[in-house]
Symmetry: C2
Subunit: 115 residues, 2 copies
Amino acid sequence: MPARRNYVYVFDIDSGDRAALDDAPRVRACLADIVASAGLTPVADVEHRFSPQGLSAAILLAESHIAVHTWPEAGAAYVTLTTCRPPAAPDFADAAAGLLREAFGARHVDVRTVS
Amino acid sequence: MPARRNYVYVFDIDSGDRAALDDAPRVRACLADIVASAGLTPVADVEHRFSPQGLSAAILLAESHIAVHTWPEAGAAYVTLTTCRPPAAPDFADAAAGLLREAFGARHVDVRTVS
């Protein structure tokens, strides 16, 4: 076992709203909401828009990072959150999935974890 | 199942060289080597140095992203690679682990995958 274990959450968004998934301010706000809900601390960020649609963004955190990749044409996106400590709230994954469903009008958000 | 599946690799570096893990150019070069070895395409990046040591960096890719977080004081780091398509080389994970061992003088690199 490595000396320092980390946690990875993968959220797969399906059947989302195409306009919402291509709306950079909305995507950024959703990530910020998830970071805040997990009690994590942003330190730097980067974003890239693809042509003709889609975007990727990553926020470095004091505790690791969160990133999103969207495919508006497919109504799809996924978000990964890695952290060197477990989120404070025991229901963090469910809460984050709810924020993603709401932000992107998605019927379903699948959650996978690695720990 | 979501419409678009993605792949996540987590590499845990243990017992690495403290100076190497705090050497930003070396860390960046190692990530670039892994990206090239996987046949992926960088599009943007971000980096943050922690005080008194340690760094985080993320590279957005045309195919998703790679990120690293280092704890030189513990000889530890981890790298996550997410991609919307599997790396071309079937031995990608082993090759990437080898690059990480070499770059950081680590005795062991543990690999976890989510797919």
